[in-house]
Point group: C4
Chain length 386, copies 4
Amino acid sequence: MTPHAFKSFTRAYGLNEIALVPSHHTLDPELVDISSTIAGLKLDIPIFASAMDSVVSPKTAGIIGKHGAVGVLNLEGVQTRYENPDEVLEKISSVSREHYVELMQDIYQKNPVKDELVKERIRAIKSQGVKTVVSSTPQSAQRLGKLAVEAGADAFMIQSTVVSTQFKSKTPEKNLNLSQFCKDMPIPVMVGNSTTYDVTLDLMKTGVKAVFIGIGPGAACTTRGVLGIGLPMATAISYAAAARQTHFEMTGEYVSIIADGGIVNSGDICKSLACGADAVMIGSPFAKASEAPGRGFHWGMATPNAVLPRGARIEVGTIGTLQEILVGPSKTDDGSQNLSGAILTAFATLGAANMSEMHQMEVVIAPSLLTEGKIYQKAQRLGMYK
Amino acid sequence: MTPHAFKSFTRAYGLNEIALVPSHHTLDPELVDISSTIAGLKLDIPIFASAMDSVVSPKTAGIIGKHGAVGVLNLEGVQTRYENPDEVLEKISSVSREHYVELMQDIYQKNPVKDELVKERIRAIKSQGVKTVVSSTPQSAQRLGKLAVEAGADAFMIQSTVVSTQFKSKTPEKNLNLSQFCKDMPIPVMVGNSTTYDVTLDLMKTGVKAVFIGIGPGAACTTRGVLGIGLPMATAISYAAAARQTHFEMTGEYVSIIADGGIVNSGDICKSLACGADAVMIGSPFAKASEAPGRGFHWGMATPNAVLPRGARIEVGTIGTLQEILVGPSKTDDGSQNLSGAILTAFATLGAANMSEMHQMEVVIAPSLLTEGKIYQKAQRLGMYK
Amino acid sequence: MTPHAFKSFTRAYGLNEIALVPSHHTLDPELVDISSTIAGLKLDIPIFASAMDSVVSPKTAGIIGKHGAVGVLNLEGVQTRYENPDEVLEKISSVSREHYVELMQDIYQKNPVKDELVKERIRAIKSQGVKTVVSSTPQSAQRLGKLAVEAGADAFMIQSTVVSTQFKSKTPEKNLNLSQFCKDMPIPVMVGNSTTYDVTLDLMKTGVKAVFIGIGPGAACTTRGVLGIGLPMATAISYAAAARQTHFEMTGEYVSIIADGGIVNSGDICKSLACGADAVMIGSPFAKASEAPGRGFHWGMATPNAVLPRGARIEVGTIGTLQEILVGPSKTDDGSQNLSGAILTAFATLGAANMSEMHQMEVVIAPSLLTEGKIYQKAQRLGMYK
Amino acid sequence: MTPHAFKSFTRAYGLNEIALVPSHHTLDPELVDISSTIAGLKLDIPIFASAMDSVVSPKTAGIIGKHGAVGVLNLEGVQTRYENPDEVLEKISSVSREHYVELMQDIYQKNPVKDELVKERIRAIKSQGVKTVVSSTPQSAQRLGKLAVEAGADAFMIQSTVVSTQFKSKTPEKNLNLSQFCKDMPIPVMVGNSTTYDVTLDLMKTGVKAVFIGIGPGAACTTRGVLGIGLPMATAISYAAAARQTHFEMTGEYVSIIADGGIVNSGDICKSLACGADAVMIGSPFAKASEAPGRGFHWGMATPNAVLPRGARIEVGTIGTLQEILVGPSKTDDGSQNLSGAILTAFATLGAANMSEMHQMEVVIAPSLLTEGKIYQKAQRLGMYK
């Protein structure tokens, strides 16, 4: 008897498994345009700062916005639960490792989100003259979406670990009807996170203006370890880019995709864009800024989960100002500073004049930086061949 | 002359090489059923605790059972050789590394298994009102199977490193006739371990109700290093699942498969189920419980082998109670606690309403967690790119 | 609807992922000729020393040249900016890590390249009776090319991270017309770096006599981390070799290719040649010489970039004289000394009588030295299986 | 124009990349025969001890032989150069790292091989009543072969890093005519090392009775690092096995193949046999014996090379007696002791009754032990996911 077919496993690739190959021409940086228009907002630098308490406060949203990127404020974090969030942030960054999860559960469960604070924080960003984007979970989207519009937000993001248009429940009314929500909202709606072609295409059909791509790979996210769920980013972005193209061919509408998770330096940003992303969302690179609310620490927003915490607090240290990180000049050579300069240089070097050309660049699977080149040499210096 | 064909090597995959991809819908956890019926026993949590002295005692079998999983008692370990096993366990966990193998050979060879203790230990589990499952080697199955039935066990497991239905010997009478044994036993018989399609299908034909899958990958098992034998789990489970399907199509009978070995956290459990397992058997995650008989240590049952010891004693430490490990709440974010909560969340996130739907989830081959994401970042923090 | 095609990723290989397989015969070393004629210059040892300040000074160019290899002098480094470069080199090798980038930007921006010093340094090499090769960026090629010819250089190299024949700019006049430049120059022109078939072929059509291959993998280069750009060397060389062959079939002219970057020991040199390179350019192996201007340190030439530094300073230590490194005798067994002896032995062992036969050797993809053999054993010694 | 074809790279596999899969039956160890007849000599244990000074002396050859394996004496090492080799061995194992290569070059160049000592050492082995096998380089084969026959050796081995039947030289008379040599020698001739199908087949046609397979992977060998040459063992053995089969089909003669290099524990031995080897040759596992001449150290025989040393001295420590290593009982669980017991258990577990059946076992490519299972868990314990 012929054996029943075995389950098949497709290979998926992470960002540190790929490299970009120059095209047949190079460009004068003057001819390069790295801007990206996402959900009607033109970003001079195609970067969103993650809606995480260690990354975006009204203050950092202002600085990031002034440099041409966008900081997304989490409307369900400490900023909207506490009059004085700095006091709370101080506690989080100084608590010992063993009391960390407990403290986090405490902080996020004891104090509810307050309508007045929501509006106050949004206005604090808006008043700095920058693009104002805020995020909410699907559960709170109706309430917070309304407040966001009232306070003048420019775009609204709905985010959960894994999102779909088809949430099945005994009480379906508690599920957000995304199509209706998009129709009702006078400002653009963005949604995430998705990883697959099917879900991304479904989400695009609801009327959202951008879809965030990526599950599992984030620096402060332990979803893959705890749940086994994840899709390496290079492959995930390429799936989403195919969905964007299908949707465009069907409807004529270009819905942006934003790579979100596991992007740790400027090289990763460039790779994400070459895989097809219109922009990236990054957390840990900004958590290293001297102005970051995390004070040298970075943590995931799934941590406070009462029964199944899934985010780690990691010490990222402080490497420079937000300005140095975003537009330089860089004092280091590891891709952690002057992110926009690196993107511009990569576009020019590869011969991509704009985001659309960047999406066409050749991508190869390459041995991880961890095993090739420098590491190999380091191993040799350490005498690992003896 | 054409070269003679070279031996061909098929690629097989381990659990830490794969990741699970969300389907096109998500589920309210209320709609998810993670239970699994194995050998007629309904497990609310699809987890068996390994029949290892460092993991299951009558006491831990009771606690594990009350939370909806099943602890399998090894009928040939210290519990049935010693009136006072705690004294012996204390010795094992405190002996120095260099005297460890010697002590183990001593403990298991000097004191035979005693019929009265076998029955006493089984009754001690039974009296706690939980499902009572016990295990034996093939050599002792006739004798211990009889005692297990008399003492009221609910199911009987036969386990050796590698099992087959066709054991060839000069003295074939010393081999267990598995078909006859299954007919004779009034309680369900489970057997292991197998890794291949052929052997799994053969075993299913004997009348066993469940087959344990996995050779080599266990934390306290050195079979692959010593014998070169093993099959990475993701592939092994997918082979066994195909055998289960073939057997089902031929006979209408659904024989369960249980992934056993190398499963170290909740993510691995979820991956095993998505590859096709009906349940998992885990040792080291329970050896970390404060109630574990191993007292912070974990060791393999092949260690006492007089001439070819193949199990290591590893220090696993203590991370929480069995309750915290099984049903939470979790105080950590590494997938070591609230295993059932993680399984439930994974089902809901992936859109699997029950075990059968979980078996259909998409699996991708992904760069190891050791090389992607967090590790990558850690390497960067450690300056490994300098 | 059929999904839009996903972006495809080709696998590319690094030097530490391959190994060379002996042919069906071996050779007496007497019958082996490892010399290579590049741009009209016959190299007895097919090695160029990188045009980096830590590697080539007029003095080391002399020593290297006398042993049959060629040291390329960077005409835009400290040697042509400072009367007394040793003072500056001393500072670079003794500055602390945190002030390093700043110092470098200072050194290279404050003091311009001086025509007189350019000629003086070239003559200092020339006067030692060795082949004199110098390098320049494309921006300075017109000016420095003229000076090089006047001072008697034998060949002129134009080098930037990524070079192409089609540089697009609003001010195209600032771009170097490579074809015209080659026609105008009375000495052979070499150019780099390239990685792809198309660009290499384009460059060969301009009249250059050699193309340097390799982007990203160098020991003191962080291009891949910062920009995401790179192509592993084994694949890059094989692409370039195909372009050389195409060009040869079209024109009858054999334009050499030189593997440049990420070559750390004699094994890597042999692999590069077997992949198709006519010679290699190496930096870090020479930076370890007692005569090296880097004084035990090695750094990339993109470091001084004012806004986006991309080179690291690494401490390589000092292992022996240039003579020991180039022609032995070797006091070590790690492939860092007697590079020419290793090349000769590899040719003889593989059965390659000359460079052209070496290009035909069989190459296999092999598990990295980091994971096989010695490392595996080391891991075992360290008890990593316990 | 179509690009010229790129050089193609075939994937080759190392022993630590594979695992063995049980067949559909298991065997009582009583029914298993692990013996192997090589060059007319029946080995009860299919293991040769490497012809290395740190491994085989007349004394250890005697002990190894009495247990059913064979120790091969190097006729060009310290044993035949010095009346009192123990004095010299003492020096080698106690010299400091920096003076090691120098000392080795001294020891092997100052004192020539002496005819009388050659015969004396051979007789010292012979007198212990064990199989007496000795080795020589091709250069000395005529002279030493004659002496070996006179002194009563049972088989003669010719070994160099890479051997071929077609050695090309200006002075071809200095090359050994292997066919003639085999005809002239009254005892069986064995030769090595080879890695490819073609060379192995060519060698078999000369009349040798066994071919040693393996270049590069040995613990004390740095050929791959220094020369870039090597072929991972699992693939190399499978190539050689195909040559053996082709030769057998052409001539009816079965010429044995022996896997030599990079075999570090009993698991590797079992894998080598399953890939097709008739026996293995191992060095480092025996260098760990308390009786080993290396006194806790192990070194390659290419080290004394005057201009290009290629062997490292590694400290392997001492783990037990030769008896414990060969036939047990084992005090450890890492595959370093009771090698014959492990082979027997593997045969029985896999269902292989003899060497010929062992050659048919299924082999899978599996994630390295370094990345799966225990290591994965170790990484978790070390908090590498934090």
